[in-house]
């Protein structure tokens, strides 16, 4: 897949809650093909505390409007700088990077499990799966009601299930506590997950128990994003692999100590 370096103009910067915002961006050229699960290395100008680019997943890609969106969680200097950028400002990105989620065949049922900001790549994934005739269920785990992000957009291409820690919306607890995992309810052919490592490990174990294939999307710290620095490695059964080029999407069966 050919990689590009382009300037994007901000069309919109929308706060979803105190911790998250969505950026809509438009390049000066036509977007190249981008697949669900891929990410961009975003240069953050005007933040003295940010030297390296920041990896962010494609949250959505709209070829008709020639725009992409990023769902970003405020973490440190870099993401807080992005949070205050305005329409018209320019962001430089190296993209599209990494591998992508496997798209199954028409008629299958897929369960997409996202915790917190981990839902970011699952919106675009759900849209593409649905386009390919796959029935999509998104299971979103949020801290509280306020942190359920853009529910309508997920409902646009399938079913949306929720968990919150206080139980005010959806099932009480974490994503792994949702009743969808019960034997008699579980009718999926494939599971995809993105979120904190402990959550993904627990989800991967549930997928194994239900004997369906699973894909996880990792967030190792990165410097280059293109396979040159070897900083972003994850231990696999075949030795260290780069999350930025061999991943970010992996089969948890291939990852060392992931299913124990």
């Amino acid at each position: 897949m050919k990689k590009f370096i382009h300037d994007f103009h901000i069309i919109e910067n929308k706060d979803l809650n105190p911790g998250h915002f969505v950026l809509t961006l438009k390049p000066e050229v036509n977007l190249p093909p981008i697949f669900p699960g891929q990410f961009a290395e975003v240069r953050i100008d005007g933040s003295t505390g940010t030297f390296l680019r920041r990896p962010l997943s494609f949250h959505d890609v709209d070829y008709d409007a020639n725009t992409i969106t990023l769902l970003v969680q405020r973490k440190g200097d870099g993401t807080n700088r992005l949070a205050v950028m305005k329409p018209g400002d320019t962001i430089n990105m190296v993209y599209p990077l990494g591998n992508s989620f496997h798209i199954g065949s028409s008629g299958e049922r897929a369960l997409l499990v996202g915790g917190g900001c981990g839902v970011a790549p699952l919106l675009y994934l759900g849209k593409i799966l649905a386009k390919n005739g796959i029935r999509v269920t998104t299971l979103m785990g949020a801290r509280s009601e306020e942190y359920i992000m853009e529910p309508e957009r997920y409902k646009g291409h399938g079913e949306l299930l929720l968990t919150t820690e206080d139980g005010k919306a959806g099932t009480k607890g974490y994503v792994i506590h949702h009743e969808v995992w019960r034997e008699r309810n579980f009718s999926f052919d494939r599971v995809y997950t993105c979120g904190p490592d402990p959550m993904m490990k627990a989800v991967a174990r549930l997928a194994v128990r239900h004997q369906v294939p699973c894909e996880v999307s990792l967030e190792q710290t990165m410097a280059c994003g293109v396979g040159a620095c070897l900083c972003c490695v994850i231990e696999t059964n075949e030795g260290n692999k780069c999350t930025c080029t061999d991943g970010p999407v992996f089969d948890p069966n291939d990852l060392k100590n992931w299913l124990e």
């Binding site: 050919k2 990689k3 370096i5 030297f51 390296l52 620095c229 900083c231 994850i234 231990e235 260290n240």
Partner: protein, 305 residues
């Protein structure tokens, strides 16, 4: 008139003085989408050891003010893996390919150098006696005069093309080490490798890197690197290749003025994968602006009076 950017490192004629630093440019294919590698003066490929190495455990990277620490620890396929899997893909790049030879023992350096010597399209090696991220060997060779001389002399006996030795900045007197490796047969020196550093996460009260310490690179080290290039260039007759924190054409020119014959660009490739062609173009426009026809007149051009 188009200025001449050509420089010589021993037997090598470089079309321009801009090369990529070992460990920061992969083997080249990683950047093929961004520009044609043949525009470069040369490519220093990833540190290559006798056997395949997995490197250090994750986390291996910590961002620092205007720089980064790495503790990759020479993860590579080993010299045989390089020859079978990588060399065939890059040997026709149209630029100088230089293998960064690393090891834990003198025997390992010799083994790698001998095998690389047999490769037609590799005109030079860079002996890495300055890696701060491995338990044995690496920087230990580059921080004392007798061991730096011993490994340089041993490899000189088996390696018959251009031999560059990459020096460690983690020494009190870099000029002294440079003189010793010059005496032991080095054809050029690269100055500098990363500075030994450390990062702590105050919240968790733990080190950020799995190895606790790591190598600092990027603009944060530029003033130190520039000073060391200047000191080394005054002390030896062989060419000095300057590196450490170069992000722009101006940075590169500063290294030339301090006495470097050529430069390497490292961490900057992560921030802008197209930085090298920009630096080459920027050097050219500096020369036009300063009416400099031959880049060689910039080398050692620092005015101190």
């Amino acid at each position: 008139m188009k200025p001449s950017l050509e420089v010589n490192i021993h037997n090598l004629v470089l079309k321009n003085p801009v090369m990529t630093a070992s460990g920061t440019f992969g083997y080249g294919p990683e950047f093929e989408d961004f520009f044609d590698p043949s525009v470069l003066g040369g490519i220093f490929v990833k540190g290559t050891t006798g056997k395949l190495r997995q490197g250090n455990p994750y986390p291996r990277m910590a961002e620092t003010p205007m720089g980064m620490l790495n503790a990759v620890g020479l993860q590579n396929k080993g010299v045989d893996g390089f020859i079978s899997d990588i060399y065939p893909k890059i040997k026709h790049y149209g630029t100088h390919l230089i293998v960064n030879v690393s090891g834990s023992t003198v025997e390992e350096y010799i083994e790698v150098a001998e095998k690389i010597n047999a490769l037609e399209h590799i005109p030079a090696i860079e002996l890495n006696i300055s890696c701060p991220n491995v338990k044995e060997g690496g920087m230990a060779f580059g921080t004392s005069c007798p061991s730096a001389a011993a490994v340089t002399r041993a490899v000189r006996e088996v390696y018959h093309k251009t031999m560059i030795v990459k020096l460690s900045p983690n020494v009190t007197n870099i000029a002294e080490i440079a003189q010793v490796v010059e005496g032991a047969g080095a054809d050029a020196v690269s100055v500098v490798n990363t500075l030994l550093g450390m990062a702590i996460n105050a919240e968790t009260r733990r080190p950020v890197l799995s190895t606790v310490t790591g190598g600092l690179s990027g603009p944060a080290i530029k003033p130190v690197a520039l000073r060391m290039v200047w000191q080394t260039a005054k002390a030896v007759k062989i060419p000095v290749i300057g590196l450490g924190g170069i992000m722009t054409a101006t940075d590169a020119i500063e290294f030339l003025l301090a006495g470097a014959t050529a430069v390497q660009v490292g961490t900057a490739n992560f921030i802008d994968p197209t930085v090298c062609p920009k630096i080459i173009a920027g050097i050219e426009s500096y020369m036009i602006r300063h009416e400099t026809e031959d880049i060689k007149s910039l080398i050692n051009g620092l005015i101190t009076v």
